[in-house]
Subunit: 250 residues, 2 copies
């Protein structure tokens, strides 16, 4: 039969059989890898909406800055931005394996990758080289990593918070608002999906899956048979091994 | 002769004689008290622009929250909001004389006045009574007083920072952005004035001076002869007595 996914995304796909109105299903091109079809409406959709909804970036020549760049959203941001000619400045954690993480992100198209400790300098903008000051920043970490995004932003720039991995709040100086005219906002995909944008959602899914099929949007997933669900859960929670996205097969 | 003030506001009015293009002067109705004409383009203009530029408040039935409510901007916000049927929730410092400050603000039209310690409760919104949750907040203090403004805001609300009297930064939780969808922005009058809004500026001056003339916009000023400039300076800096706005007369 056909491959379909619910669009707009809904819960309840973890079912052997389900009958629903035809209108809630979106047919998927089978030439696209199944694991991308299964995950496209989560992290890649978040990345795409955040690129579109906040700041009108020039199609080429602008830049953005993000922390948590190794996350799947972060990886998608790098690739989607690169596809439009937008440069990315990426901030990652200091940890073992950060050199490898840096090379992986550069292979995806990242222009600059810094670990937090590398940004412990007086003027982070001196590290930008030829890149323009970013007008848009994404924060999924909080704490110091959020402050670093703010430091990179140009006057009048916007930082969008979509996660808080460090569990630390965001601290902002008064001058950032008054003299640098920064704006801080939030993004939550569920909110966007609740706006009833059925048509836009399907167009975005096709766009993203097209990029995935053509090898222009990549992120690591691991297909796991249902029988190995407990192991997949441990991996997803970081208890075992690395943490590629776990996709259960039936 | 006529009374004039430079519009848009410019520096260099501290002069006995000055010759400039007629176009930079705005003629003032002499029935308006001189001390208001001299100060109208500073704090009252800030209050008016902040009310207009960020959130479309319903002409009646909406509310806003602000800290630093005893400042002249704060007093103007209360009166301009009241004039439009917008309720105000006002946060003041804990200090001797705060009861008197509360009564003064209520006399200007404040709906609710809380000292910071009164807001040390689990759910500040339980204190709103019949007032709607505010969609707009003004922060000129930072630190805990800014967090209190954020706590009062309704989902999707906006906090505008225009000062940092406590010299402490603003701390924001990740959930405020993602799940409460708050926006944080800044306001600086100098920036607005640099946008070349000559006509709007004159209309606002006339509007505000009209309110002042009719007794609908009040704030305390003290007229000081030029000879007493050193005392005026000490008062303005808070070294002597209370701190009404010092207006020098020649």
């Amino acid at each position: 039969g056909d491959w379909v996914i619910p669009s707009p995304p809904s819960s309840g796909t973890w079912q052997t059989f389900v009958v629903k109105e035809e209108s809630v299903w979106h047919k998927i091109d089978k030439s696209c890898p199944m694991e991308y079809a299964a995950t496209i409406t989560v992290n890649p959709l978040t990345a795409l909406r955040m690129l579109e909804d906040f700041v009108s970036l020039a199609s080429a020549g602008d830049s953005l800055v993000q922390n948590g760049a190794t996350s799947i959203v972060g990886q998608c941001v790098i690739q989607l931005a690169r596809h439009r000619g937008i440069s990315t400045i990426n901030i990652i954690r200091d940890r073992s394996g950060s050199d490898e993480a840096r090379e992986n992100l550069k292979a995806l198209g990242a222009d600059q990758v810094f670990s937090e400790s590398q940004l412990n300098v007086k003027n982070v903008k001196s590290l930008l080289g030829e890149l323009p000051e970013p007008a848009l920043g994404f924060n999924c970490v909080g704490g110091n990593a959020a402050s670093l995004v703010l430091k990179f932003l140009r006057e009048g720039g916007t930082m969008v918070t979509y996660g808080g991995m460090s569990k630390k709040p965001i601290t902002v100086s008064t001058t950032s608002f008054i003299f640098k005219d920064l704006e801080l906002k939030g993004f939550w995909l569920q909110n966007w999906l609740s706006l009833g944008k059925v048509k836009e959602c399907r167009e975005m899914i096709d766009y993203l899956l097209g990029l995935a099929r053509d090898g222009k949007l990549k992120y690591e997933t691991e297909l796991v048979p249902f029988d190995e669900f407990p192991v997949a859960l441990d991996k997803a929670l970081g208890k075992v091994g690395r943490q590629p996205k776990q996709v259960i097969t039936f």
